[in-house]
Symmetry: D2
Subunit: 140 residues, 4 copies
């Protein structure tokens, strides 16, 4: 599917909708089916020891699935997370950005399902995986 | 099971292990099988509109399961989150603390499973549910 | 909520909708919010060694959540499973029925979420837990 | 990783361990990281209407993850399912085999995580996705 956003339009849209995370993320790639998001790992994402915290990985998975869901439907729609399952498999490496690769597996009228794999930049074994369901309420 | 911590010993332990969330949580109840945690909802937990953010609810579920897991085994052990599944069911009410009720369903030698229900304080319909697996590496 | 089925009306309805499992289940309790289902453990539910198979526990969790969802809305509606997460925590005991306790946590217009705990009859430690989302398509 | 089984050795092993499903499955591909399993869809896998039942898809996901986990470690080991999350996204097409593609995301000493996508043969949109954790108890 053709995305309804360029990466920079999507970033602008995210900054409007989630102003509190402005500056934390970049979109490295975006089409109508897959998305690659980058978390600029900073001190407030870390646990003691330098590893990225669980909530920061959750937030990255969530925003990646949100971008994958909104890309083909456009900004008029609403979408809210209803379900996530997530496996934490390895420790992220200290001092590296996290790279999340999202794949939109289903875009239905009411529900969208996205798979996400998260990597420490430059490594090929995922630190975490997630799958998320977004609910798309009927537009008025 | 008899818990190896009083609530205030557990809070002290949490403040050591997760200094970055100091002041965010209280333990309203703790025994060897159930725990009630409170999130003092503050501005940095909110999304625009005043609702508590997904990552803040994730963090509350995660710390609740951590406390439920550590209570009967004591602070010598290590425990890391390996899996979470979470359903977001209702919008938290603005201006209220979140109350998480955790139940330790299984404490094995290697894995512990905890169920968590999250409520806006003073309401009886859960805003979210989660189940989490903590892995307990063998001690040396 | 008041259920729209008595237990025997619900069993009759299940036998119509899932004729292939006729005789496998009983409803021990049913109200508009909780349900207790019984799996009459038989040879075709077992793995070598006498323990109940994973697919049989999945099927029990699924039908329990279906009953919990349909009880308050009535048989005109459709409901299909969209998501399950399940933890297998202990081995079921050989030669005992399984008892599933379902709690309807949310009944929205489009989605229903049910928690299920499964026990070997007569024991108080759950062998498995599950949470399921049913999608309720809009009626025409 | 080099698998410790050829596909036909693995099928023989499955037939020993799960004699009750003999004849239901084939292994179309197997290496040390990915596996493709085929469910020969038969009457006992179907719901009224001809679609494959939830428990049959669960069983397919479970055996696929089992094969992915055992392939690199060999038959001396034990492995038991501890967690599954599964999304049902589309109705399987009547009269077609199901094809499950499993990817082993992590093989640790104690836990293995596998992602599975399930397709109706000859179609490219998944009917379901699953992720499974297998626990590998320490060998004696």
């Amino acid at each position: 599917m053709q995305p309804k956003f360029t990466p920079s339009e999507m970033m602008e849209f995210l900054n409007e909708v989630f102003p509190q995370v402005r500056g934390d993320y970049a979109i490295d790639h975006l089409d109508g089916e897959t998305v690659t998001m980058r978390l600029f790992t900073a001190d407030h994402h870390l646990r003691p020891g330098g590893t990225v915290s669980g909530p920061s990985m959750f937030a990255l998975a969530d925003i990646t699935a949100y971008v994958a869901t909104m890309a083909p439907i456009g900004k008029e729609a609403l979408a809210v997370t209803t379900n996530i399952s997530m496996d934490f498999m390895r420790k992220p490496e200290a001092g590296r950005d996290l790279i999340a690769k999202g794949t939109l597996l289903k875009l239905g009228r009411a529900l969208a399902v996205t798979d996400v794999l998260i990597y420490s930049e430059g490594t090929d074994k995922p630190v975490a995986r997630a799958s998320l369901t977004y609910s798309i309420p009927p537009s008025r």
